[in-house]
């Protein structure tokens, strides 16, 4: 029971509970539910990214590409007349995981800032590919005929039902990532992040572990992309743009990179703050930008606190 009271676990549990209760506490209108589902979907992608950043030390600046693939698989199937979610969602997950697998084979050969840059490059490649898909509207994007159905049941359209599906999938993604990072697999990843040399000396090759983490995170982000396409009933290359990738990274860091649940808190705080500011003023970025800078400078451990991660740079230098 005491473990449940730790702030790093308590905060996200409270957040999930608040999300579950929100529709019944006066946040059940169209605007609030749209906003919350957006926050939960981005939260799902951020949780998967957190598995990479916090768990394996792999700061990807191309995670939005995985969401883009998921969203565009839904759109492409919609164009082909297939609106069955039981086909579209697994296809979105598999496509994003496959993209992660292929790009991961190359990207994971690099490390540190080169990894940041090569993931950015793959993200940009996908972005331009999506922009050139004229059948799906190119730059202008593509409007879906409707939301996916599941075995013919129209469960994604009612707002309340969609809200709880997003919440359920978010909780499931978090659970999966939490389980993974607590398992032997997660411990190898963390060990390889701290001292790769020692891990190799112990007989582990970090590469397959990192690749698997990259593929799993890609798959979850693909699921988030499929949900996002359904939430907006529209896809455009902007889903996969690099500022979106930077935002996802930001959610992870804002929440606290040291713990997985931080991503959840970070995503909620980010989206609510962004939308709240945009609601109040048109030049909201003039306030939002400095807030981001201040958060990075003064909250090194993120909102959920915990270990100061400035330590790691010195360690990395000591290794070099």
């Amino acid at each position: 029971m005491t473990r449940l009271l730790r702030p790093s676990l308590l905060l996200p549990l409270l957040a999930l509970a608040a999300l579950a209760a929100a529709p019944f506490l006066g946040f059940g209108d169209r605007f609030a539910l749209t906003l919350l589902s957006r926050a939960m979907i981005l939260g799902m992608a951020a949780v998967s990214l957190s598995l990479l950043v916090g768990g394996a030390g792999l700061a990807s600046l191309g995670h939005a590409a995985m969401m883009g693939i998921g969203a565009y698989v839904v759109a492409a199937l919609d164009l082909a007349g297939i609106t069955e979610g039981a086909i579209a969602f697994p296809a979105a997950i598999l496509a994003a995981a496959a993209f992660a697998g292929i790009t991961g084979l190359v990207a994971l050969r690099t490390s540190g800032v080169y990894f940041i840059m090569i993931t950015l490059a793959f993200g940009q490649m996908l972005f331009f590919t999506l922009s050139a898909l004229s059948a799906l509207g190119g730059d202008d994007g593509y409007t879906l005929y409707g939301r996916n159905t599941f075995l013919g049941a129209d469960i994604l359209t009612p707002r309340l039902s969609f809200h709880f599906i997003c919440l359920g999938l978010l909780a499931a993604s978090w659970g999966l990532c939490a389980m993974l990072s607590r398992s032997r697999f997660g411990r190898v990843l963390r060990a390889a992040r701290e001292t790769p040399l020692r891990v190799e000396a112990l007989g582990f090759s970090p590469f397959p572990y990192r690749l698997l983490a990259y593929v799993i995170a890609g798959g979850i982000a693909g699921l988030a992309g499929a949900l996002l396409a359904n939430a907006m009933e529209f896809v455009s290359p902007a889903v996969a743009s690099w500022p979106r990738s930077a935002e996802l990274l930001f959610m992870v860091v804002l929440g606290g990179v040291a713990q997985l649940p931080g991503a959840l808190v970070g995503a909620l705080a980010f989206v609510l703050l962004e939308e709240g500011l945009a609601h109040v003023m048109s030049a909201w970025k003039l306030v939002f930008g400095p807030l981001l800078v201040l958060a990075v400078i003064f909250l090194p451990g993120g909102l959920t606190g915990g270990l100061p991660w400035r330590r790691r740079k010195q360690e990395r230098r000591a290794d070099a």
Partner: protein, 307 residues
């Protein structure tokens, strides 16, 4: 494709490559010497373009605008260093990426508020409005040639300073082992400040020169920033020589790709899909080159020695 058309594309590629070099040089030095990723570097390029365009417009002379933009870019770079960057040197790359991303949001939005979202119209600079006939069937705008010449001059000057002066020696030493340079009694803080300032000024210079050629719009820095990152990663972080070679290569690949890919695709496809597929492949081409280089040499072509 005729010889003159190919020549035109080569020159366009060279000119883009030179501009990229001016942006990438500051980026790679800051990165190499201080281990600091500055995403806001592209915003400084944009700011240079806006400052030169609006001051030049007000004074009625492009050259006065350019002259005024340089010290302003320098001052802006130093102000950013004082306000934001210096709090981030001790932090890891992730924190630097995110904080400077926040800076981009502010500068982009600030520019949009001050100058509006519509592209700024920059007239051709006086004295360089015409074209020069280089060969039969090829007249090239003289200002674009001026960009190439000015860029090459700056590159030569940088090479002299970095490779042949005491200051350059310190910069190179700082890039390969900053703690050691500090231990030898060099004030690396001042060295860093100088590098940041000069880097910002070079980016501003590139932006100001790009104004009459490309559209001056909010967000123009992002595209250049990412290409500049491609350049420094291909060239090897911290290496001016690598940045120069990679910048020219990226510039050439980018503009030759855009010109030739659609024609290449015509071999396999009909005209309309060939144009689209060609454009898509051309946009991806530099990133594919970068991925290939990193897969082959994970630390770039000319990695600055990091013992």
């Amino acid at each position: 494709m005729t010889a003159s058309l190919l020549m035109l594309q080569l020159l366009n590629g060279l000119q883009l490559g030179i501009l990229l070099f001016l942006v990438a040089a500051g980026l790679t030095l800051v990165f190499g010497v201080m281990d600091f990723i500055n995403l806001a570097h592209g915003a400084q390029y944009m700011l240079g373009a806006y400052l030169a365009a609006s001051i030049g417009g007000a004074l009625g002379s492009f050259w006065l605008g350019l002259l005024a933009a340089l010290p302003l870019s320098l001052a802006f770079g130093l102000a950013l260093e004082w306000l934001v960057f210096r709090h981030l040197y001790a932090r890891d790359h992730l924190a630097q990426v995110l904080a400077t991303f926040g800076v981009i949001l502010v500068i982009d939005e600030g520019v949009r508020q001050l100058w509006g979202s519509a592209p700024l119209n920059v007239p051709q600079p006086e004295g360089f409005s015409g074209g020069i006939t280089l060969m039969a069937g090829l007249t090239y705008p003289s200002f674009r040639l001026a960009i190439i010449v000015a860029g090459l001059a700056v590159a030569a000057l940088m090479w002299l300073v970095v490779e042949r002066s005491r200051l350059g020696m310190l910069i190179r030493a700082g890039a390969s082992n900053a703690p050691m340079v500090r231990a030898l009694g060099v004030d690396t803080g001042r060295l860093f400040l100088g590098v940041i300032g000069v880097g910002a000024m070079l980016a501003g210079f590139a932006g100001a020169m790009a104004g009459p050629v490309f559209a001056v719009v909010p967000g123009m820095g992002d595209q250049v920033l990412i290409l500049a990152f491609v350049v420094i990663v291909i060239g090897g972080i911290g290496s001016i020589r690598g940045a120069f070679i990679a910048a020219l290569a990226v510039g050439l690949v980018e503009s030759l790709g855009r010109a030739m890919m659609p024609e290449l695709m015509r071999l396999f496809l009909d005209a309309a899909p060939a144009r689209q597929a060609g454009a898509a492949v051309a946009s991806m081409l530099v990133y594919a080159v970068m991925a290939a280089v990193l897969a082959w040499r994970p630390a770039g072509l000319f990695p600055a020695a990091r013992a």
